[in-house]
């Protein structure tokens, strides 16, 4: 274990941070420029504000360093007594089923609370996106900053196929997944020989390129205006509306708009669970083990005769396919999509969910999606300070658990007993 840094090193860190802040803020805050009345440049200095900002950075750095010593990184994991540990594994075993049962009951419990149902659908969408990206980042260790591109491909695939050809959601859903996977492979081919930071940058660029193509290819995508009038999903052919052959009329119950919301809720829940099931299953197959081996040591993989290129491509395509499914769902839920929904911010959010959850952990990702999306809503009343509080909460969590909420890895096969593998052994991948 590393020795904890003493007072001088903390002060040094704080001093360096303050110096960087001084350089940055002296131009951004210290000097204020404006166009004067007759167009000339007027400026004035604000050294008071500058000083207080630099002081805040200095103090903040000290606080963060101290917090780092007090609450994290939780090396506590090794220090916890076995009794507590087995208690925790007991909780671990029952948290997931309990969460699932609760999720299944959400529409029953909150039937009349439209706001909560909408929020739950949003959370589930991000759970699904997180699980999809988890295949790429968590299992295969490939840092993908352009995941939103596949979400966009899925959404536009459904939107365009449905509005132009009138194809039903259930036909378009697999197509959206296949098209997204196809784009995943297309992107993967030239890109996957890159590693680490380079891969991250190129995938980031790819995400932006897709968005720019959507904006500029006016005839097909409607450009910045987006695609509207996207058909709502039907209950396997029976529309969920007020008409005579709608579901409500069929079941002889009174029509309510909540029916459609509840249906959408179960639809995204089913899609997310499909993603989860497939990922868990794939992990235990040779392909999934090869993904994880690739994250652990690519050179060793090659020495064992594993084709690393196709293995990476399958990870990319699988992740992209789930992104495509989620995109199709997004389109049918919104009824309207535009390029604004597919900015880099979405990629960053989904990646943050995967990292916060603990890369590779299915339950961790679900909890992280709930924390991030739910937490963001929770702070809504704080208005302007929402981002600040939210950011601070994230920093605290990452100091407390740098490897994510659930950092350990479960083995995919065992002889006598499956033991969780501590997170400091598991590699994060290098590209």
């Amino acid at each position: 274990m590393k020795a904890k840094p003493g007072v001088p090193s903390i002060l040094k860190t704080a001093f360096v941070n303050a110096l960087i802040a001084l350089v940055l803020f002296s131009l951004m805050v210290g000097i204020r420029t404006e166009a004067g009345a007759s167009g000339q440049l007027t400026y004035w200095t604000r050294f008071g504000e500058l000083a207080s900002l630099v002081a805040a950075v200095f103090g903040g750095s000290i606080v963060i360093e101290l917090l780092r010593q007090w609450i994290g990184p939780s090396g506590a994991e090794k220090l916890v007594p076995p009794a507590v540990k087995s208690g925790m594994s007991f909780i671990g075993r029952y948290v997931a089923p309990a969460l699932l049962i609760f999720t299944l009951l959400v529409p029953v419990i909150f039937y009349n609370q439209r706001y909560i149902l909408d929020l739950a659908i949003l959370v589930l969408t991000y759970v699904m996106l997180g699980w999809g990206l988890n295949v790429v980042v968590g299992l295969a260790g490939l840092l993908d900053l352009g995941y939103v591109a596949f979400y966009a491909v899925g959404a536009y695939s459904y939107a365009l196929l449905a509005t132009n050809f009138g194809w039903s959601f259930w036909v378009c859903l697999p197509l959206a997944g296949i098209l997204a996977a196809f784009w995943g492979v297309l992107l993967g081919f030239p890109v996957l020989r890159l590693r680490g930071d380079y891969l991250a940058i190129v995938t980031l660029a790819f995400g932006e390129i897709i968005r720019l193509v959507i904006i500029n290819w006016q005839e097909l995508t409607g450009g910045p205006n987006g695609v509207s009038g996207i058909p709502r999903p039907s209950f396997f052919g029976i529309p969920l509306d007020n008409s005579d052959d709608g579901l409500a009329a069929w079941l002889h119950i009174e029509y309510s708009t909540t029916h459609r919301i509840v249906f959408l809720f179960y639809l995204i829940l089913a899609l997310a669970l499909l993603t989860n099931w497939a990922t868990i299953r794939l992990r235990r197959l040779p392909i999934g083990r090869a993904w994880e081996a690739l994250r652990e040591d690519e050179v060793a993989c090659r020495a064992l005769g594993i084709n690393t290129t196709t293995t990476k491509l399958t990870a990319f395509a699988t992740g992209a396919m789930f992104g495509g499914f989620a995109g199709a769902f997004f389109a049918t839920r919104q009824g309207f999509i535009s390029p604004e929904s597919f900015t880099f911010q979405e990629s960053a959010l989904v990646l943050a969910i995967v990292v916060l959850g603990g890369m590779g952990s299915q339950l961790g990702v679900a909890l992280a999606a709930l924390t991030m999306i739910g937490g963001f809503e929770l702070f809504r009343s704080l208005e302007t300070y929402r981002m600040l509080v939210f950011g601070m909460a994230m920093v605290l969590i990452m100091i407390w658990r740098p490897r994510g909420l659930i950092g350990h890895r479960a083995p995919t096969v065992y002889l006598t007993k499956a033991q969780a593998i501590s997170s400091d052994l598991v590699k994060e991948g290098h590209g």
Binding site: A278, A290, E292, D297, N307, V413, Y414, V426
Partner: protein, 277 residues
């Protein structure tokens, strides 16, 4: 002459920019025997391994692998993972390269990737849980268990490889290479960092691989007690060229070999002369 030779290296050369790491190197390895490649630090031994196993593309020369059935493969033309997959050459690394976050059993399962991939119908059969795949997986686990037993790590099958002691990691890496069912096993300093007892166990393991399974072994090793005890044939390199070859006895008495080791390091030279006796 090639009938009983599994590997023929012919005038191999490897240059890195201006550095000549290997030059005009020719030797061969006999089937079902242990061939050792020795030499002082920086002699170019690992570079030869990297050329044989496809991690480097040789600047010149030919490397021929002849399988039991007479099929001959030009290794210098195959690259990357294909050497392990098609030519059935497995290797270990000088600085151990296990999958530290995976269990010992998982490490050995990954080694059987290609066979399992075929059995799982390239994932489709496996995804639906077809019995064909389940059978294949069971056989793979049996093979892995068998190897864990051989390297004496069975009771640690479900522990993360990264938690293993150094000597255990070395043995696990050999077991992993053997799980690919290779025709030629290349070991880069398997005894490095082992104590005397562990070295002796390693010698025994390598001899059993040769005698019971008939796998040919190419071995880089500095530990002369191991080299002299188990090698059938020794090739000595210095500064990228071959300076001697022969049986352990011939090599030990060769003045050129002694001079090379004396030039490099007196302790090592002493070890060569004492080793095996």
């Amino acid at each position: 002459m090639s009938g009983d030779k599994i590997l023929n290296v012919d005038r191999l050369a490897m240059r890195f920019g201006g550095i000549v790491a290997v030059q005009d190197l020719s030797f061969s390895a006999t089937r079902k025997q242990i061939t050792a490649l020795i030499g002082p630090n920086g002699a170019g031994k690992t570079t030869v391994f990297n050329c044989i196993t496809g991690f480097y593309k040789p600047s010149g020369g030919a490397i021929r692998l002849t399988h039991d059935d007479g099929r001959t493969i030009a290794l210098e033309r195959l690259n990357d993972f294909r050497i392990a997959k098609q030519a059935k050459v497995a290797r270990t690394f000088q600085n151990i390269r296990l999958f530290p976050g995976m269990t010992a059993l998982e490490n050995l399962m990954v080694a059987q990737h290609n066979a399992l991939m075929r059995a799982s119908g390239f994932t489709l059969l496996g995804l639906v849980g077809a019995p064909v795949y389940r059978e294949a997986e069971k056989r793979a686990i049996d093979l892995a268990t068998d190897w864990l037993k051989r390297v004496n790590l069975l009771d640690r099958a479900d522990d993360a490889a990264g938690n293993f002691a150094y000597g255990d990691q070395r043995r696990l890496e050999i077991a992993r290479a053997m799980c690919t069912e290779p025709a030629l096993l290349c070991l880069d300093e398997p005894a490095a960092g082992l104590n005397a007892r562990e070295s002796a166990a390693l010698s025994e393991l390598l001899l059993s691989i040769r005698d019971e399974l008939g796998t040919s072994i190419l071995l880089i090793e500095h530990d002369m007690s191991v080299v002299m005890e188990i090698s059938d044939h020794i090739v000595v390199m210095d500064h990228g060229v071959k300076i001697a070859e022969g049986t352990p006895r011939e090599v030990r008495d060769d003045p050129k070999v002694i001079a090379a080791y004396l030039g490099a390091d007196e302790e090592e030279a002493a070890a060569v002369m004492e080793g095996g006796s």
